[in-house]
């Protein structure tokens, strides 16, 4: 494997997480739309994958067949992905401010056809794990060492296709496939437990033949340890149930706005300014 992963030390990773959060606020407020709170919950996991020594990728050679893959199945949280990609050198941080604008490849949901480094076009929920399974099986056929990480939301687990993919990956024992469920507790119209309770995730996923862990996904050290464990499993696919808070990092601002879900809306310029003061 020629491609190397970037590995920062803990303090640097924490700084990186803060930087990603600032980018998320800046780009969604500039766009005037988007899903900042859905992005915020996933920051530690994305930071750990891209900068904590796990994702073997090269932004200068984004189609390297030996690369690892990260698929953001909860495609509406794409600002967190663009933030990490900008910090990885796929494009400049300035370009993240073109999010959702006509002509920009940084679309409202990931579009692999327009942006190298995007591994799946998502936005219709429920498909990312299946796509990741296909990529994991392709690596197996070719005898490649590459690994696929897929992130779904907890609301997304309402899609039956995810459970189809869980069963199929269990059948084929794709140890090079890791699912991270970003369990931030909310979906579009309310709390996930009220809309359609799919919990407990680990207990439901494990019987399909998966190795499971449940962690505090906003604690970078717990995330690193869980990814270390998952990537060490050699005989079954692995799932990390990542218990997070939607909007983690800007919660005081969301509280002030009176909305702890804050789904699918950007911070106003005034709230963004307050959020950026928190993110230092």
């Amino acid at each position: 494997m020629a491609v190397q992963a970037t590995k920062l030390i803990i303090d640097e990773l924490k700084e990186m997480a803060t930087r990603l959060r600032r980018h998320i606020v800046n780009m969604t407020t500039a766009a005037g739309s988007g899903h900042p709170s859905s992005s915020m919950s996933a920051v530690e996991v994305v930071a750990a994958l891209y900068f904590g020594g796990f994702l073997r990728i090269d932004s200068q050679n984004p189609t390297d067949p030996d690369r690892d893959r990260f698929i953001l199945s909860k495609g509406h949280a794409v600002p967190v992905l663009y933030a990490a990609m900008a910090e990885s050198g796929y494009f400049s941080v300035e370009e993240t401010l073109t999010l959702r604008k006509l002509g920009s490849p940084l679309e409202g949901h990931p579009n692999m056809r327009r942006l190298p480094g995007i591994e799946a076009s998502t936005g219709s929920l429920g498909q990312g794990l299946s796509i990741g399974l296909g990529q994991a099986l392709a690596a197996r056929i070719d005898g490649r060492d590459s690994r696929v990480f897929v992130m779904t939301g907890d609301g997304e687990m309402g899609e039956g296709q995810v459970w189809e993919a869980l069963a199929a990956a269990g059948k084929y024992r794709t140890a090079n496939l890791t699912l991270i469920v970003d369990q931030n507790g909310y979906q579009q119209t309310g709390a996930a437990k009220d809309v359609l309770d799919q919990t407990p995730f680990a207990e439901r996923i494990a019987p399909f033949g998966w190795h499971t862990q449940t962690i505090n996904g906003n604690d970078i050290e717990e995330v690193l340890a869980a990814l270390e464990t998952a990537t060490g499993v050699t005989d079954q696919p692995t799932a990390i149930v990542s218990e997070t808070k939607k909007g983690f990092g800007i919660l005081p601002v969301m509280e002030e706005a009176g909305d702890l879900n804050f789904h699918g809306k950007p911070l106003s310029p005034e709230l963004a300014e307050k959020a950026l003061k928190l993110l230092v």
């Binding site: 067949p65 579009n111 692999m112 056809r113 591994e119 799946a120 076009s121 998502t122 936005g123 219709s124 429920g126 498909q127 299946s130 796509i131 990741g132 399974l133 296909g134 990529q135 994991a136 099986l137 392709a138 690596a139 056929i141 070719d142 039956g160 296709q161 189809e164 993919a165 069963a167 199929a168 059948k171 084929y172």
Partner: protein, 319 residues
């Protein structure tokens, strides 16, 4: 009388069988081909490939959504996945997965739908793919191929594997007439003029091509010279052949084993209305779901016979 018999054609393999044998035979020359099956491989005939190349075949169970997206992932990683199911389950059940995991990203997935049309017979309308061509054609970038016999299916299978892009191949269940010999030249997007004629053109594909040939044989006896075109590719459509037919014969009948909406007839009419408006008639399943029964009886009851094509020709010539 069997379809094609009036035209002196022999009954040969079903298109699904020809596809299955072709895929198995091409497996060595096309090492990137991978089969993804939704537990109907013994119906779609991908099981023959799976037995020959077990390390390149995955049966993901009765889960068409996952099946199609897994194929998308395989294609994104450089494979040429062939994902096969009944036409109705593939296109109708997994429509959004085809949209998001195949068509929108433009991935090189080969979608194969067997048991298309009402000629599957006794299993009934829940198993009949009669919306599939319209659904496949509605998505940007997908090539849609409906071969008529075993030889052209074999050639279509290889053409599909060579073509880089999403493709839908539509296959039937029953044994069908042998129209072509080994000299058949098959190219995606290029129709084949199967019979010369100057008074009217019958454009058909799939099972209905042999029906159209029977109709033209009957019309010949009545002194009407009907051109017959095998429009095996519905998308991209061979517009030149349609324009030429309209100019040279002045009337067109389109025959297909599909609903009226969204099929070959709509596609051809879009071309003629824009370029060369001529009187047209359509022979298809119409706007209804069929029923269980024997294939011949169903084709008769739902108007997919050579007599129905002859009648359509007579109507179109009177206009």
């Amino acid at each position: 009388m069997q379809i094609g018999e009036a035209s002196g054609l022999k009954i040969g393999q079903a298109t699904r069988d020809a596809f299955g044998r072709a895929l198995e035979a091409l497996g060595t020359d096309y090492p990137d081909v991978v089969v993804v099956d939704g537990d109907v491989g013994n119906s779609t005939r991908t099981e023959w490939f799976a037995k020959a190349f077990p390390e390149r075949a995955f049966n993901v169970g009765i889960a068409e959504s996952n099946m199609v997206s897994v194929a998308g992932g395989l294609a994104a990683a450089g494979k040429t996945p062939v994902v096969a199911s009944f036409a109705c389950f593939l296109l109708c059940n997994a429509f959004d997965q085809i949209r998001m995991s195949v068509a929108f990203p433009g991935l090189n997935v080969k979608l194969v739908g067997s048991h298309a049309g009402i000629s599957i017979g006794e299993d009934g309308p829940s198993q009949m793919g009669i919306e599939d061509v319209g659904l496949a054609c509605s998505m940007p970038g997908i090539s849609v191929i409906v071969p008529a016999d075993a030889v052209s299916t074999r050639l279509a299978t290889e053409a599909m594997l060579k073509h880089n892009g999403p493709t839908y191949l539509r296959l039937g269940r029953p044994d069908v007439a042998e129209i072509y010999d080994e000299n058949c030249k098959f190219e995606i997007g290029k129709s084949i003029r199967v019979r010369e004629g100057g008074d009217v053109t019958i454009i058909a594909n799939g099972l209905m091509l042999a029906v159209a040939l029977d109709a033209s044989t009957q019309l010949e006896k009545d002194g009407v010279s009907a051109r017959v075109i095998d429009m095996h590719t519905v998308k991209p459509l061979d517009e030149d052949a349609i324009v030429e037919a309209a100019r040279e014969t002045g009337a067109i009948v389109v025959a297909e084993e599909h609903l009226a909406a969204g099929g070959l007839g709509s596609a051809v009419a879009t071309v003629t209305s824009r370029t060369t408006p001529v009187p047209m008639e359509f022979v298809n399943v119409g706007d209804v779901y069929a029923e269980s029964g024997d294939a011949a009886g169903l084709l008769e009851k739902y108007g997919l016979t050579s007599q129905a094509v002859v009648d359509a020709v007579q109507r179109v010539k009177q206009r």
